[in-house]
Every structure is written in structure tokens, then in C-alpha cells.
């Protein structure tokens, strides 16, 4: 149940970041990586 919302969320986030100024900056990249790490931790923890 977590996978599809995360996938939709990160897709929308990248589209929004890109749409605003046609660039994805370092801080936005760091935010994406943070979201991915959090998702991995939560997903694995919930499964165990």
C-alpha cells in the first residue's frame, strides 16, 4: 500500500521541481534521496 503512493509522490515532486524553474537543484536532489531512504526504512520495518 505504500509503494504506489510513494511512486506517485516522487513523480509529482520531480515534475513540480522541474516545472518551477526547469532545473533540479542540489537541495531538491537531497530531498528526493531523503524521501527514498525514509521510504526504504519504513517499508522494510513495516514488513518485518
Amino acid at each position: 500500500m505504500l509503494d504506489a503512493p510513494v511512486l506517485i509522490g516522487v513523480t509529482l515532486a520531480v515534475m513540480y521541481f522541474m516545472w518551477t524553474d526547469m532545473e533540479l537543484r542540489r537541495v531538491e536532489g537531497a530531498a528526493l534521496i531523503t524521501v527514498y531512504v525514509l521510504y526504504a526504512v519504513i517499508r522494510i520495518t513495516l514488513t518485518r
Binding site: A4, L7, M15, G29, Y36
Partner: protein
């Protein structure tokens, strides 16, 4: 089988899958060019589908060998990793990943639409042939739009025609067979690891297989980011 042997098998088969896919795609392009297949079709299909061949192969083999969770895990996990992980790493390593509004509209909307359709069908029940047909149709529309867009580029960049030699065909067949065999070993070792570590197959698919099969994209993205060819990192992202 011990976990060390399984991990070793996983690593070796992963390298084998990526290398086989690379050989297969290269030779198919050579053969297609020699047979006079349009450069537009070759360029678009190889760019769009060629880089995802390891994910595609391991997902198909997973489903065919009775491990659908692993297959679904690879597909969804690869998408999340490609968008959040690879694009994120590219942005951190480079100046900034750039794009244009046309790419966001086309690639972003098609990516989003395919996820929404898949999610909708998953909520309605088991994913069946109808879902597959709808998604393949959507992908066909996406390819058609890409081909239309690329027509101008290829008409102004004429490419040389080659000849199909036996060596190229043998390489293509070897690449394809290698892809199938290594994908089978990869799935076998992934299922083994899941059993030994008592982890659901879905988790192995979502993370280990998804990140592993996207290693080639990661290398391309990191290289292009280090050379400040930022838009290449986004273009490599297979929506």
C-alpha cells in the same frame, strides 16, 4: 545453499544480465540498421526500452517461475529508485539537472498516467491481461509521440547503412541467451536470499533487484553529472 554462495550468484548474475542486455541491444541496433529499419524506430525503442531490459528480463522470469511478488517488486522498485534515487544523486553531484517544459509534459505525464492506471487496476483486483493491454497501448502512444518528435532530428542526421554479418547475429543471439540465463540465475538467487534471510520476496525485488538492475543507468547518470552533462541524466531515466 549458503547465503555467501547466494550473494555471490546474485552479484555475478547481475553483472551478466547488464552485460548481456548491453550486447543484445547494441547488436540489435546493428542488425536493424542493416535491414533498413528506420533510424527513428531504432533510436526511440532502444532509448526507451533498451536501458530497461535487465528490469524487464528479471520481472518476466520472476513471473514465469512463479514468483510474481518479485516481478512486481522489481518494476515498482526500479521506478521509485530511478526517479528518487538516480535523479536525486545526479542533482547532488552536478550543478543542476536541467530539462524543458515539453519533456516534463510528455515524459512526466505519461509516467504519472501509467502509475495511476496500474494503481487503479490493482485496487480493483488482481492485475490481468486487460491491465497489460491498456498499459501496452499507452506505451504505444508514448512511442508514437517520441517517433513524431524525433523525425526531424533523424531526417537531418543521415546514418550509414551497414551489413548483417554472421558475427553480429551470433553476438545478438548470445546476448539474448545470456540475458535469459543470467535473469534465471538472478531470480533463483534472489528467491534463495529471501528464504535464507526470512525476508519477503517483494522486499528483495523492491530494493536489491531494483537497484541492482538499474546499475547501468546509475553509472550513466553519475558520469554525465560529473561531466556537467546534466540533462543526459534526466533523459536516461526510463519513464
Amino acid at each position: 545453499m549458503s547465503i555467501i554462495i547466494l550473494l555471490l550468484l546474485f552479484a555475478v548474475s547481475l553483472i551478466g544480465v547488464i552485460k548481456s542486455a548491453d550486447i543484445f541491444v547494441d547488436r540489435i541496433v546493428d542488425i536493424g540498421r542493416a535491414l533498413g529499419i528506420s533510424q527513428i524506430i531504432l533510436g526511440v525503442t532502444v532509448a526507451a526500452a533498451g536501458t530497461s531490459l535487465p528490469e524487464f528480463g528479471s520481472a518476466v522470469i520472476s513471473v514465469l517461475t512463479g514468483n510474481p511478488d518479485l516481478g512486481v517488486g522489481v518494476v515498482i522498485g526500479s521506478n521509485i529508485w530511478n526517479i528518487a534515487g538516480i535523479i536525486g544523486i545526479s542533482a547532488i553531484l552536478s550543478c543542476a539537472v536541467t530539462t524543458n517544459r515539453d519533456e516534463i509534459r510528455r515524459d512526466g505525464l505519461f509516467g504519472l498516467l501509467s502509475i495511476l492506471i496500474l494503481t487503479l487496476f490493482m485496487f480493483m483486483g488482481p492485475v490481468g491481461p486487460l491491465t497489460g493491454l491498456v498499459l501496452i497501448a499507452l506505451y504505444g502512444v508514448y512511442l508514437w509521440i517520441l517517433i513524431k518528435k524525433q523525425r526531424g532530428y533523424y531526417s537531418s542526421h543521415l546514418m550509414d547503412h551497414g551489413e548483417v554479418d554472421v558475427k553480429t547475429v551470433i553476438y545478438a543471439i548470445t546476448g539474448f541467451l545470456g540475458l535469459v540465463v543470467f535473469c534465471r540465475i538472478l531470480v533463483y538467487s534472489a528467491v534463495g536470499i529471501a528464504e535464507v534471510m526470512n525476508v519477503p520476496e517483494m522486499i528483495i525485488g523492491l530494493f536489491a533487484l531494483a537497484i541492482g538492475t538499474s546499475l547501468a543507468e546509475l553509472v550513466v547518470a553519475v558520469n554525465s553529472a560529473m561531466k556537467h552533462m546534466c540533462s543526459l541524466s534526466l533523459g536516461d531515466r526510463p519513464w
